[in-house]
Structure formats: structure tokens, C-alpha cells
Symmetry: C2
Subunit: 279 residues, 2 copies
């Protein structure tokens, strides 16, 4: 059944013989460009046999019948026989790799390995170890918990409570293997009008996050409703004091108010030229 | 200069007017399929003006001269004029969206919005809030720290110390907005031969992680070298006891020994049919 108001509905399947993460991200990005269509997005990882593909083809046909329009199937299947088992389904099947692999083979003058699951794997243990260590480092250096080994951080985020430090640190550690730490700016720092003493020797690794006081108030109020901590006046005071301190100390900073975690992380990496590892 | 042993070197640029994350992931996945080429991968986000694109074109030309072969440029630039400024560079420029957008426009019978930064944005505050809350939930329910509100978890991972619970929880929270918790299985549970009492009412939300004792020993030994905790005998005992307990209690589990975080998360989501949100 189609929804009303001229909005059409489509099911989109992201199909892979491995995790489906590349396929899901590319497909999702593409679909955000189409307004007026209501997409039901379904990720189908580990389709690594003809039997699984045939069963999925049945599921796709069912969605086609329910939606009244054929589904979109984005796939990254290395094995052509498995992909062939999907092509019979009532769907638009889009191979996310084929088009690019052909171009790259021609450019590089070599055949691609056509091996399943090369990315997002734990094949390279050294790389993988760095990533897990970065996550552990971020956890043990969250919110100033520990200043031990703080000098080993690649970057230390500073800012008032709830400015976005923790999710950003975890994201940079998990996605890019970057050793992140974060340290809060609190009332004591503002009255001394100086950075926390623990950070003095790390000035070149500091990066500030700031946020609009109105947005901060909303975020804090969800956490501690009606507290002094959450009042607009206190949020305004803290943000103003933190920004003044960061400017005074020459620490670069960005406003996170309307930015996603990805946007904050991408901005910081871009500004600091930190080396990222893609997993 | 080319490296020796018949290995050629290429610089690959991932260029976007926004975060570059989709482009970087797709490009990286494609390049893992080519052996015998040493890729230097460089992400260039926020190329949102013709001037920035021209400056980047200069950087690309420099890499071409240094490598002795033209770089690969993967891009997701919505603005055609900006992309045009790159096309003059000495590079193979591959538009990661164009090919698919054309197919989708034809299939859906609508024009794409061609708007920058639709994915990986904080446009939908409700969605965004769910994600941040999931990260906070994962942090406050890591390693059994708190059993308060544990019933609100979408999933609770259980397993011995260092079996991969924490990174997997954080990944599922950050990437998919899933409320994850994790709880360790310890000596006390093995001697009682029962799940921790705090988990009894959550049996249907439990999912186990296990690991080969030899791999566990390596991981633990990096953390606490020479401890009893890290001996092979202790690792063997804990893993055997944990697996027996999970089987006895009917809790599904997977071996994380050779799996990446993405692979573990994809397997769990696939098995449990938890709904994921893509950001």
C-alpha cells in the first residue's frame, strides 16, 4: 500500500556478502538526495551463498508486492553467481562496486582481487590493535578521569560539560584509531581564568568545543531538569567564559551546536591534520 | 619515486564538500581489492568553493609528480562547478554519486535534491538525540558499572573480560543508535554456574561474546603482563566455563577472535534483528 499525500514508498535493501557497511552507507547517502519518497531501509549482511540469495530474492518480491513498487537493491557482492540469484527478483539491482572496479582495473593495469570482506576486517592485527587501544585510551581519559599518560594523546578536546566532547572522542578513536582524550572546563578554571594546570604542557594538542548557550540549556536540562547547572544564565556564563579562555590561550575551537559527530570529527581532523586510519 | 619490488605507488584522494566519510569508506573499500599497489590515502573534506578545489588541484598535481603516476580522486561533490575545477588536475577523477543518481532519478521518476551534506548531518534533531543518548547509555552501562535502567537496553552483551564487549557496544551505539549495555562474566558466576542475578530478567536481551583462549591471553597480557589473569591456563578455564554457561542458559554467542568490530556488530544485528538507524 502506498502512503497518502503523494508520497511514494520504496523498500531499499543493502546487500553484502560481508558486513554490508560500505553498501549501507553509500546507499543511505544516495537516498537522502531524494525527497518525496519514503524509504524503508533494510541491511542484509552475510549473503554468502546462492541459497541465502534465493531466500532474500523471495523477501524482496514480498516487499515489492506490499509496497506496490519494486525495491531498490544496492549490493556489494563479489561472487557473480550469488548476485545472479538476486537479479531474478522484482527489483532494481544496483551493483555498488562493479562500475568503479572496471574503471580502476583499467587505470591501474591490474585485475582486482575480487575477494570478499577486505575492508572492515581484522586481517591486519597491528592496525586492529591500534584501534582497540585508541578506544581504551579514550575511555580511560574521558572527562579528565585520569591524567596519567595524557601526553600520549594525539588530541585533547576541552570544553564545558555537554559540549560534545565524549561522543566525538569515541568516534575518532573507533573510526580512525586516533588516541583521544577530553578534559572539562569548569567554574574553577573560569575564576582562575586559566586552563587546568594538567593541560599546560599539552597546549599544542588542545582543541576546544563550544556550543550555543540555548542549545546547551536544552541538552543539560534533559539530563538534570531544573538544576542551577541547566539554567540559561549559567549556560551563558560558562560558554562565554570558556570561549574567552580558549581565545586567550590560543586554542582553536568550533561550535558544535548544529553539527553531527561526523561533522565535528571531520572538522577537527581537517584543522589539525591528524593522520586517520580507515578500518 | 616508485617503491621497489614491482610495487607501484598511488595517492588516492577522497574529496567531498562535506565530511567525506561516504567517499572515504567507498574508496577505501574499493582500493582493498587491488594488491600490488601501495596506496597513500588522503581525505579532503569541506571542499565547498572553487578556490578550495583549485588549491586542491595543485596538491593533486604535486602528488602526481612525486609518485610518478596520476592520483585517483574519488569525489562526492554536489556542485558541478567545484568538481569541474578538479577535472583539470593530473588525476583520474571518479564521481562516486553521479552514476547512481542518474539510475535512481530514472527509476524513481523524480529529480534528486542535489543538496550538500544530507547524510552524516544533525538535521534531524530527534534522530540525533537518540544517538547521543545511546552513547551515554553505553558508557553508563559499560562492564556492569550500573544495573540501573538496565532493562531499557536494546541488547546486553556478556562475556569474559577482554572478549570485545566494550568496543562493540560503543560501535553499535554510535553507528546505529542502539542502546547497548555489557556485563562481565567472572569467577563467581562460574562457581555458581549461573548467570549474574542482575541479568536473570533480561535473558532475551543477552548476547554472548567469546574468544579463543590463545588470543585472549595475548590481549590480556598486553594489559597486565605476567599476571595470573593473563595466563593461558586461566584464559582457557574462563572461556570454557563462560561458553558452557551460555550454552546452558540458551544465550546465543559468537567467537570474536578473528573478527573486526564491524563484523561482530553486523553479526549481532543480523542474528537479533535489532532495528538500526543509519546516520
Amino acid at each position: 500500500m502506498q502512503p497518502g499525500n503523494g508520497v511514494t514508498r520504496r523498500t531499499a535493501f543493502f546487500v553484502s556478502d560481508r558486513t554490508g557497511i560500505t553498501c549501507e552507507m553509500l546507499g543511505h547517502s544516495l537516498l537522502t538526495q531524494f525527497e518525496g519518497v519514503q524509504f524503508n531501509e533494510v541491511t542484509k549482511p552475510f549473503i554468502d551463498s546462492i541459497d541465502k540469495a534465493k531466500a532474500l530474492a523471495g523477501e524482496i518480491d514480498l516487499a515489492a508486492a506490499e509496497d506496490g513498487s519494486r525495491p531498490l537493491v544496492f549490493c556489494t557482492l563479489v561472487n557473480a553467481d550469488i548476485e545472479q540469484a538476486l537479479v531474478g527478483a522484482n527489483a532494481l539491482v544496483i551493483d555498488c562496486f562493479q562500475f568503479f572496479i572496471a574503471i580502476l582495473e583499467q587505470e591501474l593495469g591490474v585485475r582486482s582481487a575480487r575477494v570478499v570482506g577486505r575492508s572492515h576486517s581484522a586481517d591486519n592485527l597491528g592496525d586492529y590493535h591500534r584501534r582497540i587501544e585508541a578506544v581504551n585510551f579514550a575511555l580511560s581519559h574521558d572527562d579528565g578521569i585520569s591524567t596519567r599518560d595524557l601526553g600520549e594523546a594525539d588530541i585533547v578536546l576541552v570544553g564545558v560539560s555537554r559540549s560534545g566532547k565524549t561522543p566525538t572522542c569515541l568516534y575518532m578513536a573507533l573510526q580512525y584509531g586516533i588516541r583521544t582524550a577530553n578534559y572539562p572546563l569548569v567554574a574553577e578554571d573560569f575564576s582562575r581564568n586559566a586552563l587546568p594546570p594538567q593541560l599546560h604542557h599539552l597546549r599544542r594538542k588542545l582543541y576546544g568545543l563550544t556550543i550555543q548557550p540555548e542549545r546547551l540549556q536544552v541538552v543539560r536540562n534533559e539530563r538534570r531538569p531544573g538544576s542551577r547547572y541547566s539554567t540559561l544564565a549559567n549556560c551563558q556564563f560558562e560558554v562565554r567564559a570558556a570561549e574567552a579562555l580558549l581565545r586567550q590561550e590560543g586554542v582553536p575551537y568550533i561550535d558544535t551546536s548544529r553539527k553531527s559527530i561526523e561533522e565535528i570529527a571531520a572538522t577537527i581532523l581537517h584543522d589539525t591534520r591528524l593522520v586517520r586510519h580507515v578500518y
